[in-house]
């Protein structure tokens, strides 16, 4: 009861003129940033901090910055589905089936289900945050190095089984992704790795250049092989809204995705990315036609997209209740609050209830704003695909190239983007999937650090991964999934003759 009363107080704060305006602007700006390749939410928040300081109201500034963050998660799915350009790590999984749907003329359905799923997941996340936030936040503290390592190992295993491709090829891509992430300065010791003395390689490759190259540019190159006059995806646009069948298929995916996203999103570090991977695998297990996964299954869009939006809401929980920032964007918000004299943490609730409840209430409103903002845009976005490929292609290449330039204001990232485009083109022609490589690239740093930290903690004993309850159950799941895969392959081979691992 008390919660509901405080929440109502929060709504009074969030609905006051200036806060509502900035909540709306945050969501809008977030959507734009999410759609554009290159500039992510962290960079945008950093860019806008001087504006925030000028507001002189911690509640307003937090509402604005939070809007940018979850708005960008919302907008990130748009380019992934339409153009196969995942601008955010969390929308890589959405891109896989989402773009396949677009190719089949079902971009409208994919975009609307993503928007609706995001709305539901976002709302579920905020409801969870208002009522069971503090106990869930403790989950974040249960994660030590061994738990992270086990989670990453499990995540990478799920990444190998992303799409319908062969597991062996998935493994090769996975290890290549880890290798790419290793280039640069070792985060724990400061040693240079595979830099060959070049300055550009010291900072390592940026996620955006790899994602844009291996997904976006290679897609364009593959399309270029065919007739130039052809459209990028398809002429038929199909209906804008999901059919009753789509809705049936994605209803439970959205709900499961929301719950997975809410709980996994609390884990600092790879929360949002891992939750989308987990949701994808869960949906494949529940699906009536798992063979459609990777070829445009709507549940494979609905689930992961809901999961990553649920995660974006719940990643605020550790910040607001424990004072622990979960990711780079939230760390930026944490710094902004501290500088304004507000200490995020358990006392925030008592010392500054207007900030605490105002932000939570604004997230309820923000989710409504985003769905109102995005659903009508679906029609607009889909019309984009009507543009002939010959015109659309240079525009996409130009936008992504400029986006890559804007990452560091240097040309190295643009050349890296072109290089990864060519590499992606060659391996995709040989039926390699870029998904596992990208996932491994994202998860590898966390995996490496947690492995090294765990071994230091345990003095070199691998039993540390199996004796602790959380990491032990992750490891058990890992082995069950592997054994399961082998058994099902074996069964199939007895029925239909040898099955190729290629």
């Amino acid at each position: 009861m008390e919660t509901i009363q405080s929440l109502l107080g929060g709504f009074a704060v969030a609905l006051s003129g200036i806060n509502l305006l900035f909540g709306f602007l945050g969501c809008l700006l977030g959507t734009v940033v999410g759609v554009l390749p290159g500039l992510g939410p962290a960079a945008t928040i950093s860019l806008l901090l001087p504006v925030v300081y000028a507001m002189n109201s911690p509640a307003t500034s937090l509402i604005f910055l939070a809007g940018i963050f979850y708005g960008s998660m919302y907008g990130g799915s748009t380019t992934s589905i339409l153009l196969n350009l995942p601008g955010e790590a969390a929308s890589v999984v959405t891109a896989i089936d989402g773009h396949e749907m677009a190719k089949k003329g079902r971009a409208g359905a994919a975009l609307s289900i993503a928007a609706i799923g995001s709305f539901i997941a976002g709302t579920v996340g905020v409801i969870g945050m208002s009522f069971i936030g503090p106990p869930v936040a403790e989950l974040a503290l249960k994660f030590g190095a061994p738990e992270y390592f086990a989670l990453m190992v499990l995540g990478l295993l799920l990444a190998v089984f992303l799409t319908s491709g062969s597991p062996l090829k998935g493994c090769i891509m996975l290890f290549l992704g880890i290798f790419l992430a290793n280039i640069g300065i070792d985060p724990l010791t400061g040693r240079e790795r595979f830099t060959f003395g070049t300055l550009e390689l010291m900072g390592g490759f940026d996620f955006v250049t790899i994602a844009m190259g291996m997904f976006g540019l290679s897609e364009i190159l593959l399309t270029l092989e065919k007739e130039v006059s052809s459209e990028f995806v398809t002429t038929k646009i199909g209906r804008l809204w999901p059919t009753a069948k789509d809705w049936m298929e994605s209803k439970w995916a959205i709900i499961r995705g929301s719950i997975i996203g809410f709980f996994v999103g609390v884990i600092p570090g790879g929360g949002a990315v891992v939750s989308s991977l987990v949701s994808y695998s869960v949906e494949r297990k529940f699906a009536k036609h798992p063979e459609e996964f990777g070829k445009g299954a709507i549940a494979a869009v609905a689930g992961p997209e809901s999961a990553n939006n649920g995660a974006s809401s719940s990643s605020f929980i550790p910040l607001l209740t424990l004072g622990i920032p979960c990711n780079a964007s939230i760390a930026m918000i944490y710094a902004a609050l501290l500088v304004q004299g507000i200490t995020p943490g358990p006392f925030l609730l008592n010392d500054h209830p207007d900030v605490f409840w105002g932000v939570i209430a604004s997230m309820y409103i923000g989710n409504v704003i985003l769905v109102i903002l995005n659903l009508p845009l679906v029609g607009v976005w889909v019309k984009l695909l009507k543009i002939p490929f010959g015109i659309l292609a240079p525009l996409i290449v130009m936008i992504t190239a400029v986006g890559c330039y804007s990452l560091e204001n240097n040309m190295f990232n643009v050349f890296a983007f072109i290089g990864f485009g060519i590499f992606g083109y060659i391996v995709r022609k040989l039926d390699f999937e870029p998904g596992p490589l990208l996932m491994a690239f994202i998860l590898s740093p966390l995996m490496e650090n947690s492995l090294r930290q765990s071994l230091m903690l345990s003095q070199g004993s691998f039993s540390i991964f199996f004796t602790r309850p959380i990491s032990g159950s992750f490891m058990a799941t890992f082995f069950i999934v592997i054994i399961w895969q082998f058994i099902s392959k074996f069964r199939k081979s007895r029925k239909k003759g040898p099955v190729s691992f290629l």
Binding site: V32, V33, L36, L39, T44, L47, L168, K169, C171, I172, L174, F175, L176, I178, F179, N182, D186, L188, T189, R191, R193, F194, L221, L224, E225, K226, V228, P388, F389, G390, I391, A393, P394, L395, V397, M398, I399, A401, V402, Y405, S406, N409, M411, V414, I418, I422, I426, V427, K429, L430, E448, L451, R452, L455, M456, Q459, G460, S500, F501, L502
Partner: protein, 151 residues
């Protein structure tokens, strides 16, 4: 033809894996199991690439030859043109500045690859260049390269 490309890529991956493992051992510190060094994880990763690529290479070697060519007839022409144009775009972006190089890039692509109508070409060149300039430079205040002209 396809088989040949498969084999070449397989060999490259296998050698890359081997190279990463050796580099980790000689140039970086692998460390000990109680105190893993900078080369510990890269060594594991290199070995992973080596083993998985070697298995793949071995399995695909035994498979019967796939005679489909890597490229169909004339498929590579547009591809090559597009890559050359993009590469040149990246090369001239800093010396010429954002506006000129981008306009040239869109123009060239549409003339050489897409063979668009003149009106379409002009329209999209101007619109595309202008819209992106506005978005990045004005709205998001991200500096774009400027060379000959102030924008």
């Amino acid at each position: 033809m396809m088989t040949k490309v498969h084999r070449i890529v397989g060999i490259i991956f296998t050698l890359l894996g081997l190279y990463i493992s050796i580099y980790s051992f000689t140039k970086l510190e692998v460390g000990t199991i109680t105190k893993p060094g900078a080369g510990f994880f890269t060594f594991v990763c290199g070995t992973g690439i080596f083993i998985s690529s070697a298995i793949w290479l071995f399995l695909s070697w035994r498979k019967k030859g796939d005679s489909t060519p890597f490229w169909g007839k004339g498929e590579w022409i547009n591809l090559l043109l597009a890559l050359v144009i993009t590469f040149v775009y990246a090369l001239v972006m800093e010396p010429l500045g954002y506006a000129i190089s981008t306009a040239l890039f869109i123009l060239l692509w549409q003339i050489v690859i897409a063979h668009s109508k003149p009106l379409t070409i002009i329209l999209f060149t101007v619109l595309g260049t202008g819209a992106m300039y506005f978005l990045f430079e004005k709205l998001l205040s991200v500096p774009l390269p400027n060379g000959l002209l102030p924008w």
